[in-house]
């Protein structure tokens, strides 16, 4: 059973989203997603300052098996990326919700987060797969 914390929101493409106190939004991939991908060996991070719309493919996570696109959960501007992943991409496998975060954005509209799934909806969606 994969880990689904209740303090973040989810997309059907298996990203998690967390609103921080400073108004930025942290994004990563879920435990379910990292488990399905297997050993992660490379992350192509998005460019800082790029302005991306909801649903846009913004970076790529590659496991030994396959390359997988990561999509913007909500629209915004990229303000930070997790440089630890450059040399330790496997951090996503070991700590997908904490040290394995991928990038931060300044959201176009903070309220967009409310449209995303909560933990129980996401759990139901994973069960359906």
């Amino acid at each position: 059973m994969s880990e689904i914390p209740t303090n973040v929101r989810y997309t059907s493409s298996h990203e998690w989203v967390r609103l921080e106190d400073d108004g930025t939004v942290t994004i990563g991939i879920t435990d379910h997603a990292q488990d399905a991908l297997g050993d992660i060996v490379f992350v192509e991070l998005p460019e800082i300052d790029s302005e991306l719309s909801q649903g846009a493919a913004c970076c790529v996570v590659e496991s030994v098996k396959a390359a997988s696109d990561i999509y913007m959960p909500i629209s915004g501007v990229v303000v930070d990326t997790n440089q630890v992943l450059v040399d330790e991409p496997e951090m996503i496998n070991s700590s997908s919700y904490t040290d394995g975060w991928i990038f931060k954005i300044k959201p176009a509209d903070e309220d967009d987060i409310e449209q995303l799934m909560d933990a129980s909806s996401y759990e139901a969606e994973c069960d359906d797969e």
């Binding site: 297997g38 050993d39 060996v41 490379f42 192509e44 590659e62 030994v64 390359a67």
Partner: protein, 360 residues
């Protein structure tokens, strides 16, 4: 219809993640493909390869038949149990399959062919065998386990039944030995030492657990692919197929041109290709920077364009490697198109890592 090997329950009990492979439900990994890869490079691991097809060929003219059927020459096999790797070509010189053939005795050879090509291989072998009065018998009741790694032989010998173990202890590389219905060969597909063991299905699940007890860990087909790629071994259907000749598939070394009078299927076509000058070859690529190389990515060099046939992230070298079909005049470096960007790669011989050491 998906099929299961006799080890399916063992895979489930050991946490195997099951996927479809050529119509078989096989374990892709048992948790971490990368850990399993290192397990084989540093200690001992085992693969269920029971989905592969074992075919026994018997008859007075079996040697003459195989000299006609295969691009390599079974006349090279002088001692019982000796193995030979060969391509089986069609009349156009394309590769129908790659296989290992074992010389059991003058009237009996055993072939192991790929699971994904079973139907067409058997049809082809049967069609060609008519004139030679050779019997072609599939052996689906035999399972096969590959035990691979620097400690594989020692651990496997401790788990094998005593008589089989004694018969297998002194095996030289690329030689096998039969003990009753068991057949143990010192062959493999990882670039590490080890055995491939054929045995009756009824005894296989218990033997698998005996190997676990002896410290051999189950390894999925995912790691099998990264291990064979590091070892520079072709994968049928990916690195070569019926549309590619062995000469552009790094299989030239497996073609026995001597004796000149040996007429094997496809010989005239590949001889003509050789005489006209071979245009492409398979090389190894090592990505200079970060990223992962994948099959079908475009390769760009001064001599023209090529394509990656197999690519992955090498767990042993910790960088991306690939096998690519490129123009023969390729230089020491090239570019690979990765998601619209050109990334620099080094061109090397397609052998990256064997016997626990880098080959670069």
């Amino acid at each position: 219809m998906s099929q299961k090997t006799c080890l399916f329950k063992n895979h489930q009990n050991h946490g195997g993640k099951i996927v479809d492979f050529a119509g078989w439900e096989m374990p892709i990994n048992y948790g971490s493909q990368v850990e399993e890869h290192h397990q084989v490079r540093t200690d001992a691991g085992m693969f269920d390869v029971s989905h592969m097809t074992v075919v026994d060929l018997e008859g007075d003219k079996v040697i003459a038949f195989l000299q006609y059927l295969l691009a390599n020459d079974v006349a090279k096999l002088k001692t019982e149990g000796k193995a030979l790797y060969s391509a089986m070509l069609n009349e156009q010189g394309g590769v129908i399959d790659d296989l290992i053939v074992y010389y059991m005795n003058d009237q009996w050879f055993r072939m192991v062919v790929n699971a994904g090509t079973r139907d067409k291989d058997l049809a082809w072998i049967n069609k060609q065998s008519g004139a030679f009065d050779v019997s072609v018998t599939e052996r689906p009741e035999l399972a096969m386990i590959a035990v691979q790694g620097p400690n594989a032989r020692e651990k496997a010998l401790s788990a094998l039944p005593l008589d089989v173990s004694q018969a297998s202890a002194a095996l030289k590389r690329f030689v096998g030995t039969a003990s009753g219905d068991w057949f143990v060969a010192r062959t493999g597909y990882t670039g590490e030492d080890g055995f491939e063991i054929m045995l009756p299905e009824s005894e296989t699940p218990a033997f698998w657990e005996a190997l676990v007890e002896a410290g051999v860990k189950p390894i999925g087909l995912g790691a099998r692919d990264t291990l064979r790629l590091e070892a520079g071994m072709n994968l049928y259907g990916t690195d070569m197929d019926e549309s590619t000749s062995p000469l552009i598939s790094n299989l030239g070394w497996t073609i026995a041109w001597e004796p000149e009078g040996r007429n094997f299927i496809g010989r005239d076509k590949i001889a003509a290709e050789k005489a006209a000058g071979v245009k492409q070859k398979l090389v190894g690529l090592v990505l200079e920077g970060k990223g992962v190389l994948r099959g079908h990515m475009k390769v760009v060099c001064e001599a023209g364009e090529g394509e990656i046939t197999s690519g992955t992230f090498s767990p042993s070298l910790k960088q991306a490697i690939a096998i690519a079909r490129v123009p023969v005049a390729i230089g020491e470096t090239c570019d690979v198109e990765v998601r619209g960007k050109l990334l620099k790669a080094r061109v090397v011989k397609p052998v990256f890592f064997r016997e626990g050491k880098p080959c670069l």
